[in-house]
Symmetry: C2
Subunit: 208 residues, 2 copies
């Protein structure tokens, strides 16, 4: 069984969305052994007294001071087809860091939020064991059957991508092969774990 | 051609997400001839000196003062299967108000944001001419071919739901039959209008 308590990231990506305010993503960040910041995200991280291990991006949205000060940490990866979050994940995978937590990925532009959330499916396909911690939830890309620890009454959503035969144990409402995002939202845990059976890919969103 | 400038809502739904701060959704709200607030959303609307035409929900998240003061405006619609945004849209459709703008639908919990955005597709199926105005963009559910006014370099995203044969005129990057949300994000307008050809349903996100 996958345990949220025992899952520990080898590296954390601080993306370009809203800087986290909730205790959980902030702890993920403060306990990280390796932090890769997406460009402008580094400014606030540094302002709070930290130094990133790497800064991914073209440096355009970094303050001039930090661009000079952190020049040796800046990894310019030119690829118009991907965003900085994706560049950071691939940068970490290339170093053999597969267990990756992402924070700061949501909360501003909705197109970025949708993009960053849905990219988790692609990172899973690329071999990453990845999840996004927001101020409100943990978002986990999944393939086939999986089991998660939870609290009774904790709110859970299942967003279907390519899965069929979706079925859950330990959730209040039954699953089906959802064709629209909202259909799997606002489910609820019964006990201290829930399991999903399926063939294919989906996202699990567990609210804190 | 559908024009954003000439499109005018018959009614506005103020949902339960973050209260708008951008000029555009605030103007949509202030110019509305009819405003239906989703439960708690009414408190902030009233605090700013307005009176809603209807409040949809069970009143639980309304302040006690407003629950008493607006008792005659409160429409309790009990349906565990839908959220307050959906109840408000159906309430307006039942009154013959089909051109509906939604504000305040995003910006807090990601499960609510994803749910509220994807529900636009269902509202379109139910006959509504509906769009969501956020602080960053307008989100429009579409079926088959459509044309939109725009500014050169304005950022546009296409999120595919059931469409095939996706093709665009007037956008920088070519469309394809996207299977993941991020694939159609961050496109860009060339001139002062763009057209999408397709068979089926998709969302168009036009950043302000």
């Amino acid at each position: 069984m996958e345990s949220m308590e025992t899952w520990k990231a080898e590296a954390v990506v601080l993306a370009n969305g809203e800087y986290p305010t909730n205790r959980l993503p902030l702890e993920v960040l403060s306990h990280a052994s390796y932090v890769a910041c997406c460009d402008g995200g580094a400014d606030e991280y540094i302002r709070r007294g930290n130094l990133p291990d790497a800064i991914i991006g073209d440096g355009d949205s970094l303050s001039k001071e930090n661009r000079l000060r952190c020049a040796q940490l800046l990894h310019r990866i030119s690829d118009q087809e991907t965003n900085d979050q994706t560049k950071a994940v691939h940068f970490l995978l290339a170093q053999g860091k597969q267990r990756i937590a992402i924070v700061g990925a949501t909360g501003k532009r909705e197109d970025h939020t949708l993009g960053n959330i849905s990219l988790l499916i692609d990172y899973m396909r690329a071999g990453a064991d990845v999840r996004t911690y927001t101020d409100y939830c943990v978002i986990i890309p999944c393939r086939d059957g999986q089991t998660f620890p939870c609290r009774p009454q904790q709110q859970v959503s299942i967003i279907n991508f390519t899965a069929c035969g979706l079925h859950a144990e330990g959730l209040v409402y039954p699953l089906s092969d959802f064709t629209n995002w909202w259909q799997g939202t606002l489910n609820e845990c019964i006990g201290t774990e829930f399991s999903i059976e399926a063939k294919g890919e989906y996202l699990v969103i567990i609210n804190h």
